[in-house]
């Protein structure tokens, strides 16, 4: 690491007569630089290891049929995880159906109607706290509210759990998005005699839309990868989902279930499902970044 060892402190380099004390200081300086750079590159190892294993163990079973077929019974080979992808999509969609209107509307209240009110501060505080709540607590909530009252694990319960999980993300990113809309746009709109409602819907929301979409996509990426909230609210379903009141499979729970089975084929399939899940999540994340950068043309 020649670049690392040559970068001595600014002041130390300018010393002409290097006495012993200074030499020790320079040495110490270089030691820390070396340590810092080395440790930073060490973080590459876990990521490379994960990506390498995902590709090595995930690709052999990755065929188009895994997206359309049902999971194999324990000990059997063949099949896929089409229903798990369907279940994940249905539950994430359901979650957005609940959390997007709620999050966007309260963000509008927070930023457009009364930004400094006590309620607005309470919403911001609660949203921050909700971000920090363990995801499994969202599952416990949906279990208590939906599963205990309907008597069965269901896609609906999983959707409710993921809705609670995604609400703070959508709310806080939407508030930031609205905050980013220049004030003069609103003033120009008022100057043309638009009402507050017209201004919000025709000026502010369209302008903030890319950033709001970024927030929603980040929420989707997070929700799709979460296992804990849907583990006992949606449980798992060996078959295609036909009703929202049925238990639903999901990619994340399939990975969890298969990883604990003693069969090689199932564990391989868990890796393939992981590869698909990580690819989906990463692509959604990148798409979210792109949506935001488009606004910053």
């Amino acid at each position: 690491m020649t670049t690392a060892t040559s970068s001595i402190g600014f002041a130390a380099r300018s010393l002409k007569a290097v006495d012993l004390n200074s030499r020790v200081r320079i040495l110490r300086n270089n030691f820390w630089t070396f340590l810092c750079v080395t440790l930073s590159f060490l973080t590459l190892i876990p990521l490379f290891s994960i990506v390498f294993l995902l590709l090595e163990k995930g690709i052999p079973l990755l065929k188009p049929s895994v997206f359309t077929q049902l999971p194999p019974a324990p000990g059997l080979a063949g099949g896929g995880f089409g229903n798990a992808i369907q279940g994940t999509a249905v539950m994430v969609g359901l979650a957005l159906l609940f959390s997007t209107p709620l999050g966007v509307l309260s963000a509008i209240y927070l930023n457009e109607y009364s930004p400094k009110s006590r309620l607005a501060n309470a919403v911001r505080f609660v949203a921050k706290l909700l971000t920090g709540i363990p995801s499994i607590i969202c599952g416990v909530f949906a279990f208590s509210v939906v599963v205990l009252s309907t008597g069965t694990a269901s896609a609906l319960a999983g959707g409710v759990a993921l809705a609670v999980l995604t609400l703070p993300t959508i709310l806080l990113t939407t508030e930031q998005a609205l905050l980013g809309v220049p004030k003069m746009l609103r003033e120009a709109s008022y100057g043309l005699a638009a009402t507050k409602f017209q201004t919000i819907f025709r000026i502010v929301l369209p302008e903030a839309m890319p950033a709001i979409m970024t927030g929603i996509m980040l929420a989707v990426a997070r929700a799709a990868g979460e296992t804990a909230p849907v583990l006992f609210t949606a449980a798992f379903n060996q078959y295609w989902l036909k009703s929202l009141m049925q238990p639903a499979g999901s990619l994340a729970v399939l990975i969890y279930n298969f990883s604990t089975l003693p069969y090689d084929y199932q564990i391989q399939m868990a890796w393939t499902a992981s590869l698909v899940l990580v690819a989906l999540v990463t692509m959604t994340n990148i798409a979210a970044q792109l949506a935001f950068s488009q606004r910053r043309r």
Partner: protein
């Protein structure tokens, strides 16, 4: 900030049209109240089913070490300790590493391009689902721990911390993977704190003859310390609530052990494992455990946010 009264829209009182109440504003108000109510609803939905267990076990729930569903006896102490210990060990690894990476990202040792690659890698680590970390841990970390743990318990087994047998599914396995999972949190918040240190402080330090690392240790890090402390607290909160990877790696044992190489359990892992098939008092006891977890994480997160807010104010004051 976005609207104040003077730049609001025109009142449409011209002519005979009278302005009614702004229904859309009412709608957004209702949504805001609902967002706040969500947190209370979550707490209520946990406390109500937990009530039978709270009445039956009271505070002894937190001091008893017996978790035995067959005899309907529930004590969460092993899981409380497991949650705290696994998160603390994770921080022990992740804190120095995270702060060094944050320093690497905020200093100019290497060109910006390389630093951005590292930053991107750390952000990617945050995006990987917990269950994938669990799967990776089973395939990679467990064999490593089994091998090294075997040596360790053979040579240092007389120390309770390293007493064998090394089972693979253990406290140290879960803690190591947790450390990787909370690394992005520590790095991101610490980096923000370090970047916010005014450059004049660094220049002043160089001007009196300090080397780069003397400047870092005596000026930059102390100035950014509140932010780094906040990062640590928030990462601790995240580690406590982390469920799937831990549940897959820690062994989920209700037995207390001094050894880092033997199985343990955490509150979140307990919930993930037993919630599906629980009935009656066991379900209620699990709800009680969930309540303990939610109160703990809320408390830790509030502390973290409070420190973070103070940290932002502190560095803003220097400028």
């Amino acid at each position: 900030m976005a609207s104040d009264e003077r730049t609001g829209p025109a009142d449409h009182k011209i002519g005979k049209t009278k302005r009614g109440p702004d229904l859309f504003m009412v709608l957004t108000w209702v949504a805001s109240v609902a967002a706040v109510a969500t947190l209370l609803w979550i707490l209520e939905s946990i406390v109500t089913p937990a009530w039978p267990a709270i009445q039956q076990t009271g505070l002894s729930f937190f001091t008893s070490t017996a978790w035995d569903a067959n005899r309907d006896r529930y004590g969460a102490l092993p899981f409380l300790i497991g949650t705290a210990v696994s998160s603390l060990i994770a921080l022990l690894f992740a804190l120095p590493l995270g702060v060094f990476i944050a320093l690497f990202l905020s200093e100019n040792f290497l060109p910006l391009g390389i630093r951005q690659v590292i930053r991107f890698v750390v952000e990617l680590l945050a995006a990987i689902p917990s269950v994938v970390y669990g799967l990776w841990g089973i395939a990679v970390v467990i064999p490593i721990v089994q091998q090294f743990g075997g040596y360790l318990s053979d040579s240092l087994g007389f120390i309770p911390l390293f007493s064998g047998p090394a089972t693979g599914n253990s406290m140290i396995t879960a803690s190591l993977v947790l450390a990787i999972m909370v690394l992005p949190t520590i790095t991101a918040i610490s980096r923000t704190a370090l970047v916010a240190v005014p450059p004049t402080l660094r220049e002043g330090s160089y001007a009196v003859g300090a080397t780069r690392w003397e400047t870092i240790f005596r000026v930059l890090v102390p100035t950014a310390a509140p932010g780094i402390v906040a990062a640590t607290i928030l990462a601790f909160g995240r580690a406590m609530g982390e469920t799937m990877a831990v549940a897959m790696l820690i062994g989920n044992s209700p037995r207390l052990s001094w050894s880092l190489l033997s199985p343990a359990g955490t509150l979140a892992g307990l919930l993930a494992n037993q919630f599906g098939e629980a009935h009656g008092l066991q379900l209620s006891a699990l709800m009680y455990a969930a309540l303990a977890l939610v109160v703990l994480t809320l408390f830790v997160n509030m502390a973290g946010e409070a420190v973070l807010r103070r940290a932002e104010k502190a560095t803003a004051g220097i400028r």
